[in-house]
C-alpha cells in the first residue's frame, strides 16, 4: 500500500479523492499543515510555489489542489483570489459587478498538483459556463449558486454532488489524476 499525502484543510476534498482512488493500492492521508499561497496570476503558479515549499518537509509523495472562478468581463476576477473575495463580497458582490454586463461568460478551474521525488505533475480541470443573474440553489459552496455550466440550465448549487462532479472543474482534474495513477 502506497501512502500519498493530501495537503489540505478541506476534508471534503480528501473524501472525494479517497473515493475516486478506492480501487487503487493507495492510501490517501490528509495533512492539514498549510502552505503559503502566493499572490500570482495563475493557479499553476500558486500550486508550484506550494510544492516547492513542501517538498523537503514531507517524507511521502503528496498532492495539493487549488481552484478559482474566472469571469471574462472582469478580466479573470476573482481568479486565484476566489476564496478571499467570496468571504468579503460574496455572490451578491459578483452579481453587482456584472449588473450591466451582457457578457456573462466565466469558467471554474481546478489544479491538482502531485509531487514525488523531484517529479511534478499538474492535472487541470476546467468547466465553462455563465454567471446567472440571481442566486439560485442551496447545495455546494462558494460561487456554486451563481454558476450555470454550459449545456445545463441550472446552477451548480441546484445539482447533487454526483451530477456536479461529472462535469465540474474539480471532477475533471481528479479524473486526470486518477488516469495518471492508473498508468503508474
Amino acid at each position: 500500500m502506497k501512502t500519498i499525502y493530501f495537503v489540505t484543510g478541506n476534508q471534503g476534498k480528501v473524501l472525494e479523492v479517497k473515493n475516486k482512488l478506492s480501487g487503487f493500492n493507495i492510501d490517501i492521508v490528509q495533512k492539514n499543515i498549510g502552505y503559503p499561497e502566493i499572490q500570482a496570476d495563475s493557479l499553476e503558479e500558486v500550486a508550484e510555489y506550494g510544492i516547492n515549499h513542501l517538498k523537503n518537509k514531507l517524507n511521502h509523495p503528496f498532492i495539493l489542489e487549488d481552484a478559482g472562478l474566472f469571469i471574462d468581463s472582469l478580466d479573470g476576477f476573482p481568479g486565484v483570489y476566489s476564496a478571499y473575495v467570496y468571504y468579503r463580497i460574496g455572490c451578491e458582490g459578483i452579481l453587482k459587478l456584472l449588473e450591466n454586463k451582457k457578457d456573462r461568460k466565466a469558467y471554474f478551474k481546478s489544479v491538482y498538483a502531485f509531487y514525488n521525488k523531484g517529479e511534478k505533475e499538474f492535472f487541470i480541470g476546467k468547466c465553462d459556463g455563465l454567471i446567472n443573474r440571481e442566486i439560485t440553489g442551496d447545495k455546494g459552496f462558494g460561487y456554486d449558486p451563481i454558476f450555470i455550466p454550459d449545456g445545463k440550465n441550472i446552477t451548480f448549487a441546484q445539482m447533487d454532488i454526483k451530477e456536479k462532479n461529472k462535469i465540474s472543474h474539480r471532477g475533471k482534474a481528479l479524473d486526470k489524476l486518477t488516469e495518471f495513477f492508473k498508468k503508474d
Copy 2:
C-alpha cells in the same frame, strides 16, 4: 556611507525614500528582484514573508513596502489584494460594490519593513477617510480618485504629491522609518 537596498519594482517609491533620507549618511539602492507575496489577511504577514524570503539573498540591510485600501462595509476588501483588484475591476468596480451602502468608511495602510542582520522592524502608516460617490481627480494612482482623507473635502487624486504625502499612509510610514534611522 551605509548602503540599504529597497526591494521594489516601483521607482517612484525609491525616489520618495531617497528624498526623505537625503540628509542621512545612507545610500538607498533599488533592487528590482521581486519576492513572493503570499495570500494573507494582513500587510504585515505579506511583508514578514517577503523578508524571510529575501534575508539570506541580500548582503546589505534592506527595506520593502506594501500597501492597501481597506473598506469597512466590505469587510476590509480589497485589502492586501488592492493592486490585483484594481487592475481587474478598478475604481468603477469599488463604487459599484458600494452603490447602496451608507457606510463609506475606509482606510489606506502602508507597511515599511526593514531588515538588518536578524533584526526586523515594521513602520505602519494609516490614513482614515471615506470612499467618494464618484471618480474625481487625475493625480496619483490606483484608488486615489475615490478616496477622501478625513479632514479634507477633495480626493487624493486632487492633491499635489506634497500635500498628499503629508497625510497619506505611505507618508506617515515613511516618517516613522526616517525617525528610526535618525536614532540609529
